[in-house]
């Protein structure tokens, strides 16, 4: 039986090539880290349940995107149906930080008429000795854009859970307050199902016995 969730949020992860988008998502969804990760071709899809309060679970659908610029014409179609986003830069790569503004503009231009809650993520914080972006300037930028800022490391599993769950909580609050609404034809937020326990357990038994595969 499918796990029970209150809401489903669709998140998109963006940022320059090699800032560590896929590694961050894999650490969060699969709990593992690969020293070397193949480039993403187009868009990849992941999902995980997050418990924001005891008994309150949110299903996260996470869209991983290719960093190469030419794929933007394809990935931009995914902004519209996302409610949240993680905008990554690599703290050891100044250029990736300078491009944050461009990514945000790109997202803003294509999310209309909806809105995305973004969190700015300074990734690879385990490589502090090679740091090219100070925490202070990143925080300043995030404040200017009205975003949270968090530093993460997929390799050492630092703040990975926090980055996703904080964003999920922020979105949940906005949904609860009615500032973000579930809308027909919009995939950003979907309401979960409340199962009829007796009925669904009957179905499970039935399908187990009769599955043809």
């Amino acid at each position: 039986m499918e796990a029970i969730w209150l809401y489903q949020f669709r998140l998109i992860v963006i940022g320059d090539s090699t800032v560590g988008k896929s590694c961050l998502i894999r650490r969060f969804t699969e709990g593992r880290f690969a020293q070397v990760s193949d480039p993403t071709v187009g868009v990849d899809f992941f999902s995980r349940l997050v418990e924001i309060e005891p008994g309150k679970r949110i299903k996260l659908q996470i869209w991983d995107t290719a960093g190469q610029e030419r794929f933007r014409s394809i990935t931009r179609a995914y902004y519209r149906n996302s409610v949240g986003g993680l905008l990554l830069f690599d703290i050891t790569n100044r250029r990736s930080f300078q491009n944050v503004h461009e990514w945000l503009e790109e997202a803003k231009a294509h999310v209309q008429p909806y809105q995305i809650v973004f969190v700015l993520v300074g990734h690879k914080c385990d490589l502090d000795t090679q740091r090219q972006v100070t925490r202070h300037e990143a925080e300043k930028l995030a404040t200017a854009y009205g975003m949270r800022y968090i530093e993460t490391s997929a390799r050492d599993a630092i703040n990975v859970e926090k980055a996703f769950t904080d964003l999920t909580r922020d979105i949940y609050e906005l949904v609860r307050k009615g500032e973000i609404n579930i809308q027909e034809g919009w995939e950003g937020v979907k309401s979960g199902f409340v199962p009829n326990v007796v009925h669904s357990s009957e179905e499970v038994i039935k399908s187990d016995r009769r599955c043809l595969c």
Partner: protein, 290 residues
């Protein structure tokens, strides 16, 4: 100790199936030998019998071995193996707009090399891979590198080796992969749009199901632009598929993607559908399709 092994229950059945298996093995060995023979015959003709080689590349087992691929792939692409491009000079890496991206992508593409390959050998191949990509881009300034292109080039490098790989990839990039290498992905998106009408023609019910679920066609993007090299983990499957694609029309990968999608959705649907009557009803409809 009266009952001995010879009366083991089911022994006859085991012997029977063992015999059938040997028969099958012998049969497939026989077919394989015949195919090797046919391929050699087609290659030794003057000019080589390319129509025959195409049939061999498409039919069961494809081109069988990498040694044969080295001989047949150039024929399928009409590449002259006597006239290969000269090795690149050091200037290649200086004057190329895509160099940085190629470097980043190739250096982290370890999964595509055989596991257990010595580090030095793999690093040499990665450097060759960078050179081939840059050389082809340099020879065809109208072409643009995309993430995933390296997945195709590495397959050719591992099967036929450096100089010949350059010539084959050069031809492939100006023909089969040409649309993916435009300045924008518009033409690629256009080709992806063929997918749903193909599925609709083959199986309208699954087409409706996919439309309702709003799955889109993006799932097939990496299949299409890497010829499935990005998603298949077994290299033997990749090269078998490349035999097929090299012998077919450049749009074949999108037809193949439709088939993969249809088959996987049917499996998914059968596993998840809870109403047995509906399964029977629908599977009746599907049996006509396949």
């Amino acid at each position: 100790m009266s009952h001995t092994a010879k009366h083991t229950p089911g022994a006859d059945l085991w012997m029977y199936w063992g015999f059938r298996w040997t028969q099958y093995r012998n049969g497939s060995e026989f077919r394989r030998r015949r195919k090797l023979n046919d391929i050699q015959k087609a290659l030794s003709r003057d000019p080589p019998d390319v129509a025959m080689l195409r049939r061999m590349a498409i039919s069961e087992g494809g081109l069988l071995t990498d040694e044969i691929r080295c001989q047949v792939w150039p024929r399928l692409l009409n590449v002259n193996t006597e006239d290969l491009p000269p090795p690149p000079g050091p200037e290649l890496r200086v004057d190329n707009k895509d160099y940085q991206q190629v470097l980043l992508d190739v250096r982290r593409s370890l999964r595509r090399f055989p596991p257990g390959m010595p580090l030095k050998e793999r690093e040499d191949l990665q450097e060759q891979l960078i050179d081939i990509i840059l050389q082809v881009l340099d020879r065809n300034r109208q072409l643009h590198y995309y993430q995933g292109y390296h997945d195709i080039v590495v397959t050719f490098l591992l099967v036929v080796g450096g100089p010949l790989a350059t010539a084959l990839v050069d031809k492939l990039s100006t023909h089969h992969l040409r649309d993916f290498m435009d300045p924008t992905m518009d033409n690629t998106k256009h080709i992806l749009n063929y997918l749903m009408p193909i599925i609709e023609l083959v199986n309208p019910m699954l087409y409706d199901f996919m439309q309702r679920a709003e799955v889109g066609t993006i799932f097939a993007l990496s299949w299409l632009i890497t010829w499935f090299g990005h998603v298949l983990s077994d290299f033997r499957h990749v090269v078998r598929l490349y035999d097929f694609f090299l012998a077919c029309h450049p749009l074949m990968p999108i037809y193949f993607a439709a088939v993969v999608r249809i088959c996987s959705l049917i499996l998914y649907y059968l596993c998840n559908y809870k109403d047995i009557a509906a399964i029977q009803r629908h599977s009746g409809g599907w049996s006509g399709t396949f």
